[in-house]
Symmetry: none
Subunit: 222 residues, 2 copies
DNA sequence: GACAAATGTAGTATTATTACTACAAATATT
DNA sequence: AATATTTGTAGTAATAATACTACATTTGTC
């Protein structure tokens, strides 16, 4: 701790992607309190994220699931394609652990919900920056019980949905019509319709109102 | 400006209510950069807000519309009941100007969307703190055009529905398809469809999910 | 009481959604 | 490895929902 010119901890480059500026501000603020000195850039759309990734190397991307232009699992691939070694910490507004598992499997290094206390956010960022995986206690538990007994008694029906199905399910709960979902995910309308059918089958429901009930019932109680 | 003991600007007390801790952090950070020195408290549920309000006087409440335990217009009354002179700045994740008008009419002093740039958030907070109303350009415009045509007082849009419309609306919130509603009410499908269209027009919505939100927001059930 | 607006009702034409069906690729199971 | 499921994707045909339009009653207003 003497020589100014020798940096034992090289500056880390972090990209914070969220469409809410206060969230970016909060996250940047937390980052500024980390032991690791870091330079933060901010993006508010997924396109901006891509632009940044093509212009400069980053150590970590903190990515809001709901970012405009993104909002799907393919985001992970799109990011890793540009920078295979970047760390990705998903940052989500929903407590839905469901998403967590899917994104982790798709290659994310961590999944953090926005209502997590400040300390947890800080520790999640450090953890992922240090090349480790981060998972909230709840997510970890869910993953374990999932690996453990595959025939658990009371299973969360939402967890039986596949990645794509969860994406569509989420959009459906926002009241977005099938045609527009197809558009957003670059799929045929009939494809989305197939997902919808499968979702309804798996959850044993027959309309959006029931879908909202199910989601409320099984996702809030985390 | 010499005497330490004379405070020309007394400390303001601000309560930031949002279930996302980063948002609270970001807002607190912005507040700390204001000219007005302020003491910030944080709440993450509406119950906590009430508890705070009953314990201590606040100058300003920054309130997330979607806060757990709240999420409806009655929040305003609940707050003003405890502290009639408190200023309220609504902070919302949705851009929906619809909500804005409703909350302003219900007594809020400002309505701010979360994705607003930092400067706008800062200025909104100052504005409301200084006893003025804050509105985004878009909201202002909408409000004006609304006042122009007809200045009806705080109106519950649900109460503008006719008898038949209410019947259909109710069935719709149960997730019952149009065809079956027609059956139940012994009407033609197209008739029910017409009601549905009129309901959606009156409530300014475009799908069932939004219908449920409206009903939740305005139903006195809470 | 006259005229305007709101309400209850429905038809036609168009658009959106769903039911089936299919099939390759990825996973899981034996 | 061989076989069975699940998942991601989409086409065709059928069904449901909507946009417009229309019109006779109420209901409200000057």
């Amino acid at each position: 701790m003497g020589l100014k010119s020798i940096e034992p901890f090289p500056m880390k480059a972090i990209l914070v992607a969220d469409d809410h500026s206060i969230v970016r501000l909060g996250v940047s603020h937390i980052i500024s309190t980390l032991a690791t000195p870091s330079a933060v850039e901010e993006a508010s759309t997924f396109d901006e994220v891509i632009t940044y990734l093509e212009a400069k190397r980053f150590d970590l991307l903190i990515l809001d699931i709901n970012i405009p232009g993104g909002n799907n699992l393919q985001m992970i691939d799109a990011v890793k394609l540009r920078q295979p070694n970047i760390r990705i910490l998903m940052f989500s507004g929903y407590d839905e652990q469901l998403f967590a598992i899917n994104y982790m499997q798709a290659g994310a290094d961590g999944y953090l919900v926005k209502y997590s206390p400040e300390d947890e956010i800080r520790s999640a960022i450090s953890t992922v920056l240090n090349q480790q995986k981060y998972m909230s206690a709840g997510t970890k538990e869910q993953l374990l019980s999932m690996l453990n007994s595959q025939r658990e008694p009371v299973m969360n029906p939402l967890s039986t949905l596949s990645g794509r199905e969860v994406e569509v399910m989420y959009l459906l709960t926002k009241g977005i019509p099938v045609a527009r979902i197809a558009d957003m995910l670059n799929l045929q309308v009939t494809t989305v319709s197939t997902y919808k059918t499968r979702i309804f089958e798996k959850l044993q429901i027959s309309n959006i109102v029931e879908l909202l009930e199910k989601v409320k019932m099984y996702s809030t109680a985390n």
